[in-house]
């Protein structure tokens, strides 16, 4: 039942944040959420029935002093009647007030203060990004946000529904359908954990809309919807840089949401004003200067420290920890709003995985003062050269020149020779490719499906493949097995086409954009561009392939070096967790004289460095990205155990792919080092480093005016905050659903008290 009464203009609860056009003078509608309760209005007749019934039930007695009784009656008849009527009216009014209270009356009005009723669906959106870990005193903003949310639940009326969304990237609907038990929703709020991600407001709005649509469909008795955004109003989240079209779309979605729900922003960011809220220091990067790490060899580790505030930080200590043990400390002067790099030299004594951490001095936001790096120290670089045309004379083999060049490469600085093994095609199936850092496939005629699967598995484990072509190569077979046409996903960064002979002109480095050729910039005398190529396979890049357009190939191919006519000569691609380099000519001198040119050795060195560089980063991801790896398939091993940074242990099932198995774990919303244990015999633990996207480290918030004018212009929303030192003090923005009910119940108490008082005064109570 909803009746519309004449329009009533009222004041706004939040005069400052609300725009003038956000408070239209709408009709005041009055209704009840529980209409069946009106059946109890019949109980209001009870006092009258009791009165009438009592008139029929009386005691009798003879009476001598009748004159006095008659005189008393004569004096008080009129007053007695008035008292009777008054008491009956009070009793009736008490019952009516009780019935009205349980019928849950409500007002529909744009002013939240006057919207006290109806079953309400409250969507609690708590900012779970890591900036909420910023601490003021002994409490973090996230703890304050949870207390706000719990207070909202506490102050709500019975029968209200709650959903809970954690604003992150991506947002998570913790409670996606309305829950009606306050205790359970409070428990969910209590269990909420901060995520080391940023926050995606647009995606959060979409999630809120989805939740409200679900509530409207499944819980129609929730007649009103309120969305509470509880967070720090970080500029990067609420006012991100986006295109005009994207911003218009975002505002349109927000306006649509505001039409079906009341938006309420609870700003926890302003409480830190005057306390350096926007001051924050973070370690924004940590990387190995050389992608290949060998045990016993010194490596350079570089960390970047950035100040996100407006205060310079001189003599800021930066610690390097390896396997949780302090390894080095340096002091840097960080300019206000600037970034400085810190370089450490460290030597990993033992081969295997190591956890490296760079740590700056703690501040209000500790989570971004750490950055992690998982490093695999190898005893030596091992390269397997598959010769497609073996010969008894090593000098006549295809891989002779390549092996010599590889043997001269290795660590860039110390020139340690790589361990080179030469083998025939059968080694692909006979040997464990995982034992090699790089596999060079030279003039291999064709690959079988099983060989293609093995190569795919090797790439899945972060392996490095370098293809050299030649006269034995059958392009159709390559295309059939290695470009995703068969059962095996694409491996080659392109499809082989016809052979081009006697090309003209010099080579084109394409602006030296790719790391492989960057070292040749300004070194034209090295002969790279004048290397003679007499034959090569024309290649259609994977980005042009139909499979890649469908997103099936997952190959990001880039031409490193091209012929004068633009045909690719060297193509590099990242394939799954590995890297592939395709050289469209031969490794020996049959199709090109490159091996004889002085630029050949540094080119091979760079190809080796780049292709194996992926292995250094395979264990390092950002929050939200899955941890993935492949293992040699072993019967009886069904899962791997993952030890999270918080000490909790999880399991990831192994998915079999024939000769190897893979696992994936995607709950990486906390930064730190994840340790993976496998029950494989002889398998060592593997380390993965999960790091923050440090854009969230910029704590500067938006202002109320920006929220009003730039984020949600023209959209009606409420804004609340608390002053410093107030702690948790949600204002009256919540709990108004029960205000009328509480008022009525207080009225009932008052009426009952008045009835008792008057009955006592009138003499109707026993003395």
């Amino acid at each position: 039942m909803t009746c519309v009464v004449p329009a009533l203009r009222v004041g706004t609860r939040y005069p400052e944040p609300r725009t003038s056009n956000a408070m239209p003078s709408l009709p005041l509608a009055f209704g009840f959420a529980s209409l069946p309760m009106f059946g109890w209005l019949a109980a209001a007749a009870a006092p009258w029935l009791i009165h009438l019934f009592s008139r029929r039930k009386y005691r009798e007695t003879a009476w001598a002093a009748m004159d006095f009784l008659m005189a008393a009656v004569k004096r008080r008849t009129r007053r007695i009647q008035i008292e009777h009527w008054l008491l009956l009216l009070l009793r009736t009014a008490s019952i009516v007030a009780i019935v009205l209270a349980v019928a849950e009356p409500f007002f529909e009005h744009p002013c939240p203060v006057l919207r006290p009723g109806g079953r309400t669906h409250r969507v609690l959106v708590i900012d779970g990004s890591y900036s909420m870990a910023f601490k003021t005193g002994d409490r973090s903003r996230f703890q304050q946000a949870k207390q706000w949310a719990a207070r909202i639940v506490e102050k709500s009326s019975p029968g209200d529904g709650f959903t809970l969304i954690e604003m992150a990237d991506p947002p998570r609907a913790i409670v996606g359908t309305p829950a009606f038990e306050a205790a359970s929703i409070r428990q969910e709020i209590e269990n909420l954990e901060i995520l080391h991600t940023s926050a995606d407001l647009a995606a959060t709005l979409a999630e809120v809309r989805k939740v409200i649509d679900t509530a409207r469909r499944e819980s129609p008795r929730l007649v009103r919807h309120e969305v509470y955004f509880v967070g720090d109003l970080q500029r990067g989240t609420w006012l991100p840089s986006m295109s005009d079209a994207a911003r218009a779309d975002f505002r349109k979605r927000a306006a649509e949401l505001a039409e079906i729900a009341d938006l309420e922003v609870i700003d926890l960011g302003v409480i830190d004003l005057g306390q350096g809220a926007a001051e924050n220091l973070a370690v924004t990067s940590l990387a190995m200067h050389d992608p290949l790490v060998l045990a016993g060899r010194s490596v350079e580790i570089e960390a970047a420290v950035r100040d996100f505030g407006h205060t310079a930080r001189p003599h800021q200590p930066v610690d390097l920890l390896v396997d949780e043990h302090p390894a080095a400390r340096q002091y840097v002067d960080v300019p206000a709003g600037g970034t400085v790099s810190v370089r450490f030299n460290y030597r990993f004594e033992t081969p295997g995985d190591h956890a490296v951490e760079a740590r700056s001095l703690g501040d209000g936001l500790d989570v971004d003062n750490h950055r992690y790096l998982a490093v695999t120290a190898r005893p030596a670089m091992r390269v397997l050269c598959i010769d497609g045309r073996p010969s008894g004379d090593p000098r006549r083999t295809t891989v002779y020149n390549l092996a010599n060049a590889l043997a001269a490469s290795g660590s860039r600085e110390e020139r340690s020779p790589a361990e080179i093994e030469t083998a025939t095609e059968s080694a692909i199936q006979e040997r464990d490719l995982g034992a090699y850092d790089c596999v060079a496939l030279c003039n291999v005629a064709q690959f079988t499906a099983s060989e293609a699967r093995l190569l795919d598995g090797y790439l899945g484990r972060g392996g490095s493949l370098v293809f050299f072509l030649g006269d034995q190569v059958r392009g159709d077979r390559y295309n059939a097995e290695l470009t995703g046409q068969g059962s095996t996903p694409a491996i080659l960064p392109g499809r082989l086409k016809e052979i081009v002979e006697k090309p003209r002109g010099s080579l084109d480095p394409l602006g030296y954009r790719h790391p492989i050729v960057q070292e040749f910039r300004g070194q034209e005398k090295s002969g790279l561009l004048t290397s003679p190529v007499t034959k090569y396979f024309k290649v259609e890049l994977a980005t042009d392939l139909p499979s890649a357009k469908r997103g099936e190939g997952r190959i990001a191919a880039q031409v490193v070096l091209a012929m004068h006519n633009g045909d690719p000569l060297v193509v590099a691609a990242t394939v799954r967790r590995g890297r592939v380099v395709l050289v469209t000519t031969s490794a020996d001198t049959s199709w090109a004289a490159m091996p004889l040119w002085p630029s050949y050795l540094p080119l091979v060195e760079e190809i080796l460095a780049w292709s194996t560089g992926g292995q250094a980063t395979v264990g390092n991801v950002e929050v939200g990205e899955p941890l993935q790896a492949s293992l040699r398939a072993v019967a009886g091993v069904a899962s791997v155990a993952i030890e999270r940074p918080d000490g909790r242990r999880r399991w990831a099932p192994l998915e079999s792919h024939g000769d190897y198995s893979s696992w994936s774990y995607d709950d990486t919303y906390h930064s730190g080092v994840y340790t993976v244990h496998c029950d494989l015999p002889g398998a060592a633990k593997r380390l993965f480093a999960v790091n923050l996207r440090t854009a969230e480290s910029d704590l500067s918030p938006i202002t109320k005016q920006e929220l009003q004018e730039d984020v949600w212009p023209g959209i009606s929303f409420g804004y609340e905050t608390t002053s410093p030192g107030d702690g948790i003090a949600p204002s009256n923005s919540v709990g108004h659903s029960s205000r009328i009910q509480i008022g009525l119940l207080y009225g009932v108490v008052g009426l009952l008290f008045l009835e008792s008082l008057l009955a006592w005064q009138f003499g109707y109570q026993k003395t």
């Binding site: 009592s54 008139r55 039930k57 009386y58 005691r59 009798e60 007695t61 003879a62 009476w63 001598a64 002093a65 009748m66 004159d67 006095f68 009784l69 008659m70 005189a71 008393a72 009656v73 004096r75 008080r76 007695i80 008292e83 009138f762 003499g763 109707y764 109570q765 026993k766």
Partner: protein
């Protein structure tokens, strides 16, 4: 129906009254020498006063000593001690039959017990006692006598008295005041639920005839306290109408009316030097009587 002394004479009450003789506070006219003063002076051993000699006086009472000292003719006068004559007036109207749940007996039964006890006491001290029962007219009259067997007659009269009719105390008191030739004590047992002005006028008539009057106002505790709390139908006695009402709402007004009534009675009695005794029927009779008699000493 024979009267049983034990019905109205409670041994405990009588034992309590032993020694508490009903001594007439004012002068009464007796006809047998007793313990009470008589208005008639004559021969006696207790000197009263002198008066001037008048021709015709008996010279035997001339005080020669005074004549010798002052040459004046004075006669000696002596007080005559006589027997008390007490009339017990018992209201037997219908209103006296009321008895509430909190009372052990009705007002009439209580009044009968009190009257019987006093009659026993008076006869026991060699005085005369009479009995009158009345409502709107005199129903029975037993003339005063000091014969111990007279108690039986009084009890028989009370036995025959049952509250059935309306009362008219004013008229009755006027009539009895005229009938009682000899001055004495009139003890009235009644609830006095009648016209107060007429009642006081009747009492005034008694006093005019030089009777000492004791008014035993017998009321049921319910009539004084009005303890009813539920809806009640009050059936009026003595022909008064019924009334269905909520007693809790009327209690205060009723008590005010009752107090006003008692106050008028007390005030009227005090003006005429009449002893007013409010008797609640839930109180012990022995205490009521002994207290009053003790106060007369």
């Amino acid at each position: 129906m024979s009267a049983s002394p034990a019905q109205y004479l409670d041994p405990k009450v009588l034992a309590r009254l032993e020694g508490l003789a009903l001594r007439a506070r004012s002068v009464v006219e007796g006809y047998v020498a007793g313990i009470h003063r008589s208005p008639f002076h004559g021969f006696s051993i207790e000197f009263a006063e002198h008066r001037e000699y008048a021709p015709g006086d008996d010279l035997r009472y001339l005080d020669w000593k005074v004549l010798a000292r002052s040459d004046r003719y004075c006669l000696k006068q002596f007080e005559e001690e006589t027997n008390l004559v007490c009339n017990l007036l018992l209201d037997t109207s219908e209103s006296m039959s009321y008895r509430s749940e909190g009372a052990a007996m009705s007002k009439l039964e209580y009044a009968k017990c009190a009257a019987a006890s006093l009659a026993y006491l008076i006869l026991h001290q060699q005085d005369s006692v009479g009995m009158v029962t009345f409502d709107r007219e005199i129903r029975a009259l037993v003339r005063p006598s000091g014969n111990p067997s007279h108690l039986k007659d009084i009890l028989q009269v009370m036995e025959r008295s049952a509250g059935e009719r309306k009362t008219a105390t004013g008229t009755i008191f006027h009539e009895l005041a005229e009938r009682f030739k000899k001055r004495g004590i009139a003890i009235i047992f009644s609830d006095l639920l009648d016209d107060v002005d007429a009642l006081l006028a009747g009492l005034k008539h008694f006093r005019h005839r030089r009777h000492e009057v004791v008014l035993m106002h017998v009321l049921d505790p319910a009539e004084i306290d009005f303890p009813f709390d539920k809806l009640t139908l009050f059936r009026g006695l003595e022909g008064l109408p019924e009334l269905l009402t909520e007693p809790r709402a009327l209690r205060k007004a009723y008590l005010e009316e009752m107090q006003k009534f008692i106050h008028r009675l007390k005030w009227g009695c005090r003006q005429q030097r009449i002893d007013y005794v409010l008797v609640r029927t839930d109180r012990s009779l022995e205490i009521v009587l002994s207290s009053y008699l003790a106060s007369r000493k």
